[in-house]
């Protein structure tokens, strides 16, 4: 009977397609690196690569949190605005503490704690509105996106909040400093990604996040507290935003209404380029990392060449994003 072998063959070829799908973002990343090297040899210099990766860290870290949110079947549009608001609050807190004669270490520590508390709290508010309030995540976070953006504009009186120069000098190395040439933001990004991968793939919480997004009813019938899982995911996203802000503030030492503008879309794009399904239930942390780097590389490569009209930048970005996702979707279109 040819049946079983045929079935087995079908299953294994389906698996091979799945594998290809998982490698998709890394193939796209490799292709982009080759492209970069061709466009300008400067691209491959350690200095340039370190710059790009350091810049990627903020949206990358936020995208790790976003991977959890999207895996539960949700979405968070408020992260960019929250980053701006949290940056503003951090600057205000540290500026207020500096004249108190506290040692700079303590000032930065307290500022960081304030940011973490605020970010996690804001994430939990999103989560509560979604789970208890029974409002669509898209609507909740669209609302909080506007609220956070307004609050930072208000806090900055429409202008820019600037960090006290004295404390800035002390805090600056958090962004610019390095260990063996690898800057701190890159190290933090790597650690966050590794922790994210462990949590998602190896812990009960991660399994529950995936199950919730794959099928909420099945999760409920498996004695999983779906609401608590979602709430925790939004809290986690808040934590990631807080961490990104901690790394971001020392870069320019300022926050304004334009801080973090569009980060939410970049983070979501990184997650989706990485192969995580928009509808939830399937997560790829390392894909997200690749996705975030891909997005930053596109910018970098376009800046390193004068061959393409600057008016077309966004078109090139759009094309590369769509191609990167297309590579993975080929297997899905077939029934």
């Amino acid at each position: 009977m040819p049946e079983p072998s045929h079935a087995a063959h079908r299953a294994s070829s389906a698996r091979r397609r799945a594998d290809l799908k998982a490698f998709g973002p890394f193939i796209a990343l490799a292709a982009l690196i080759v492209l970069g090297a061709v466009v300008n040899p400067v691209f491959l210099t350690p200095g340039n690569l370190i710059n790009v990766l350091t810049r990627t860290a903020f949206t990358g870290i936020i995208a790790i949190g976003g991977t959890f949110i999207i895996t539960t079947g949700g979405i968070d549009l408020s992260v960019g605005s929250l980053a701006a608001f949290a940056s503003g609050i951090m600057i205000i807190v540290m500026n207020a503490l500096t004249p108190q004669g506290l040692p700079p270490f303590l000032v930065v520590l307290l500022g960081t704690l304030a940011v973490m508390a605020l970010s996690v709290f804001s994430g939990l508010v999103n989560g509560l509105l979604i789970t208890r309030g029974r409002i669509e995540p898209f609507i909740v976070t669209l609302g909080t996106m506007g609220i956070f953006r307004s609050l930072v504009t208000y806090a900055a009186n429409g202008g820019t909040l600037s960090l006290n120069t004295q404390i800035r000098g002390y805090y600056r190395p958090v962004y610019y400093g390095d260990i063996l040439g690898i800057t701190y933001p890159i190290l933090v990004f790597a650690v966050v990604a590794a922790i994210g991968a462990i949590v998602l793939y190896r812990t009960r919480f991660g399994r529950y996040v995936t199950a919730t997004g794959a099928n909420e009813e099945v999760a409920r019938y498996s004695a999983i507290h779906v609401d608590r899982i979602k709430l925790a995911a939004y809290g986690l996203q808040g934590l990631c935003v807080g961490l990104a802000v901690f790394l971001y503030v020392p870069r320019l030492g300022s926050a304004s209404a334009t801080t973090g503008l569009g980060w939410e879309l970049e983070a979501i794009a990184a997650v989706i380029i990485g192969g995580t399904l928009m509808k939830g239930g399937s997560a790829r942390i390392w894909g997200t990392v690749a996705g975030a780097i891909i997005l930053a590389l596109i910018d970098n490569i376009l800046n390193l060449t004068g061959a393409i009209s600057v008016y077309l930048n966004s078109a090139i970005q759009g094309c590369i994003i769509i191609i990167a996702v297309l590579v993975q979707r080929d297997a899905k279109s077939r029934p």
Binding site: N40, V42, T45, G47, N48, N51, R55, T153, A156, N157, G158, G159, T160, S162, Y176, R251, L252, S254, S256, A257, T258, T259, L261, D299, N300, L302, N303, L304, G306, V310, Y311, N313
Partner: protein, 316 residues
């Protein structure tokens, strides 16, 4: 507030005719400006607020209705409200975009209101009673002149542009017209969206790409802030200098303090909204005769005159 700064033309052009006839009436002045979504617009809002307080104190019979909008469509809606609900007598508007707001402003004009246009001209200039604006081409020219002089007519520069708009094109084209005639080489120009983070990113990549840069034209002080950080990080702050624009207080301070990285700044002051409001109020309350248009010079700020343009209390 001081209303003399950068407005020599204004003082001359203003002929104050005493006409107390209208002074007894209650008047409403409508002011419509974009919301504070970036630094310059933030300064705009701050100056508008300040002017509102000052003017309402000065003219007890004057009410100023100040509204901000996030996009052109909302601004057009605001105009209807100002006319219908707030019953304004005159309008001061900084249009989000020229074309989409031309017709809505025409409606205001047809309703018999005084119209003052600020910064961005409408596609039909016949609508406006008064036009107050900074000088974008002049900003480009003045910036270029300073660069050519300081570089001695040769060297490598990079340009960080703003957001693709008419304003940006006017500045850029005027700048290039001057620079083209010299031996200065423009290595490349990229958009940095009048944003600090984008300024930082683009400059990092320029620094990686070009080993020798003598000067940077950032044309906006928000971008300049990002550029400064990138240059410092690369340790090349001794090799080049940056020319920004707008008149942000931090930049004016640096110029005042003779910072070698930022030797000068070119004004494009958000304070123009306050000037426009004051002129319109003067006309409304005192019947002052006004010129048809006031163009505010894109003055070059150097350590010599920086003190005049420094507003430590402004948000910009």
């Amino acid at each position: 507030m001081k209303f003399t700064i950068g407005l020599a033309a204004l003082a001359v052009g203003m002929m104050i005719a005493a006409s107390p006839a209208g002074a007894a009436d209650k008047k409403v002045l409508g002011v419509s400006i974009p919301a504070a979504t970036h630094g310059w617009a933030g300064g705009l809002n701050w100056h508008a607020q300040q002017a509102k307080i000052e003017l309402e104190k000065k003219y007890p019979d004057l009410t100023i209705a100040l509204v901000t909008a996030g996009d052109a469509t909302r601004q057009a809606n605001d105009l209807e409200d100002l006319v219908q609900v707030r019953k304004i007598d005159a309008l001061v508007i900084l249009p989000f975009e020229s074309a989409p707001l031309t017709e809505p402003v025409r409606q205001v004009k047809n309703a018999g209101k005084w119209v003052t246009i600020v910064d961005r001209g409408l596609t039909d200039p016949s609508i406006q009673d008064l036009y107050v604006a900074g000088n974008n081409p002049q900003m480009g020219t003045n910036s270029a002149d300073f660069m050519v002089k300081k570089l001695g007519g040769k060297g490598n520069i990079v340009i960080l542009r703003g957001i693709p708009t008419v304003i940006d094109n006017q500045r850029f084209d005027a700048f290039m017209d001057v620079v083209k005639k010299t031996d200065i080489k423009v290595l490349d120009s990229k958009y940095a969206n009048w944003n600090r983070d984008d300024g930082f990113k683009v400059m990092q990549d320029f620094l990686a790409r070009f080993p020798k840069i003598d000067a940077v034209w950032a044309q906006d002080d928000d971008i300049t802030l990002g550029v400064i950080e990138a240059v410092k990080q690369a340790g090349r702050d001794k090799d080049m200098w940056i020319l920004g624009g707008a008149g942000m207080k931090e930049m004016i301070k640096r110029v005042m303090d003779k910072d070698t990285l930022v030797p000068a700044d070119v004004l494009y002051p958000p304070k123009m909204i306050a000037d426009a409001m004051e002129l319109t109020a003067k006309h409304l309350m005192e019947g002052a005769k006004l010129e048809k248009q006031y163009i505010i010079d894109a003055t070059l700020v150097t350590p010599d005159n920086a003190k005049q343009y420094y507003y430590p209390d402004s948000s910009f």
